[in-house]
């Protein structure tokens, strides 16, 4: 009995989890912050829509009124930014970033996309991202960075002149912020759909294996 337990523990130690603990924590904190920011952001957007034809039903927004939505938005932004810094720093320092996401070529993306659409893409090894996954995750990381930078340009358009000009001025920064949000929302829809198709991937993001 004693031996079996020790053996099991040794085996568990030898095989590292598919997702290390720090990755699982930063993933869920990021998901929580992004959700709060998106729902409260919709309420803020509605106060003065950038695109008059696009209004988001207030029933699916967060905050109750503009003031409340702003409070949620400017609270969750700290979580998103600091959690994002921890995620990027640990990813780069541990070498996980290079190992997981590269090499990545357009040809591989096309190949895996066709395989996925014809139902031939293997999900046997969740340790290995396929090329479409690599592209999607890299994309959402960059999109979140654009969201933070355009958000800063809107929030502090006077204090960060370089950022403001990079976005093409205060008004255009709002368009960039909205566009990046829409792309993030599209990612979330696809991401959640994929998790529903391969439920095991949800387990690995929760318990690591």
């Amino acid at each position: 009995m004693q031996t079996t337990l020790t053996q099991t523990r040794e085996t568990a130690q030898r095989i590292p989890p598919i997702h290390p603990l720090w990755l699982r924590i930063t993933h869920w904190l990021n998901a929580f912050a992004a959700l709060i920011l998106m729902l409260s952001g919709w309420r803020i957007y509605d106060a003065s829509p950038v695109f008059p034809g696009i209004v988001i039903p207030t029933s699916i927004t967060l905050g109750g009124w503009l003031g409340g939505a702003l409070q949620w938005h400017f609270a969750a932004m700290w979580l998103l930014v600091f959690n994002g810094i921890v995620y990027l720093a640990l990813n780069l320092a541990s070498g996980r970033f290079l190992a997981k996401f590269f090499p990545l070529s357009p040809r591989a993306v096309l190949h895996d996309l066709i395989a996925a659409l014809t139902g031939k893409l293997s999900h046997a090894d969740l340790r290995q991202y396929n090329a479409v996954q690599k592209l999607a995750y890299l994309f959402v990381v960059i999109d979140l960075i654009v969201l933070v930078l355009s958000g800063l340009a809107i929030w502090k358009s006077v204090q960060f002149p370089l950022l403001r000009e990079m976005m093409g001025g205060y008004d255009r920064a709002r368009v960039v912020h909205f566009g990046a949000m829409a792309l993030m929302a599209a990612f979330v829809v696809v991401h959640v759909a994929m998790v529903a198709l391969v439920p095991r991937s949800l387990l690995t993001m929760l318990r690591g294996r």
Partner: protein
């Protein structure tokens, strides 16, 4: 120590007490860490009513106070808001208030007196001709509303820092507060009050400031959001006691910088 010094010390003690009492009323800072941990679980448990939860509101208010301090740190007194050309003016410049345009207050310029109070040593009552005689400055700047829209306007008046020096304001005090003819009230931090672009405005687009834009005067700050710019000002005071503001007391962020 002369009488004057003693008086100022007394005022400071009173405002420190007021600040401390406010903090005790809002024990949010102590609960800050705890709320951070429980916010996630709470939001999942309470579903749609999360914004009505007292503890969540306390937490969000505490973060808003934290954001005041973060913005005060980010604020660079030498950083100028961008200025624009006449061709870029937004016409017509939008009217905006917490009431409709029909309820804009009527202020009689002849009877008008601006009252200055609090931590000032100089002239405390000003007529409009006296104010109009002060050094003149103009700016074409962007007004950014908390709602997200923005509009470019041309404003004329006197630099506020210059006015504060003229009334002998204690510029080491924390706040300048404003009371307005439309029952609006607002307060700002001293560094912003002293910013070179903060303008006590008597004119819009080269004309006497019309009632809809805040006759007889508006404090124009291109470094702050629209709601921080009080109109129809009738009284201002320099103080170390946090005065709040019309929207701020309902949940808008106090610093409201851009």
């Amino acid at each position: 120590m002369n009488t004057n010094d003693r008086k100022i010390m007394k005022l400071d003690r009173a405002s420190i007490l007021a600040d401390a009492r406010r903090e005790l009323d809002m024990p949010s800072r102590r609960l800050f860490g705890k709320r951070m941990l429980t916010l996630g679980g709470l939001s999942l448990l309470t579903g749609c009513s999360i914004t009505d939860e007292d503890s969540v509101n306390t937490f969000l208010t505490a973060v808003s106070r934290l954001n005041d301090r973060a913005q005060a740190l980010l604020f660079d007194p030498k950083r100028f808001a961008p200025t624009y050309t006449e061709a870029q003016l937004t016409r017509p410049f939008p009217f905006n208030a917490y009431y409709g345009i029909d309820d804009v207050p009527h202020v009689d310029g002849g009877d008008y007196r601006l009252k200055v109070s609090g931590l000032v040593t100089g002239k405390r009552v000003w007529t409009l001709p006296e104010l109009y005689a002060l050094p003149h400055a103009e700016q074409i700047t962007r007004h950014i509303c908390v709602e997200g829209w923005s509009a470019i306007g041309r404003w004329g008046g006197t630099p506020f820092s210059e006015f504060l020096r003229r009334v002998g304001a204690d510029t080491t005090a924390k706040y300048v507060g404003f009371r307005c003819a439309d029952d609006y009230y607002e307060s700002i931090d001293m560094p912003t009050a002293l910013h070179p672009q903060t303008l006590l405005t008597f004119e819009y687009d080269g004309e006497r400031l019309p009632a809809k834009y805040g006759y007889p005067m508006k404090l124009r700050m291109p470094t702050k959001l629209g709601y921080k710019n009080p109109k129809h000002i009738v009284e201002m005071f320099v103080t170390n006691t946090y005065p709040g503001g019309y929207w701020v007391d309902q949940g808008y962020n106090w610093f409201g910088g851009s």
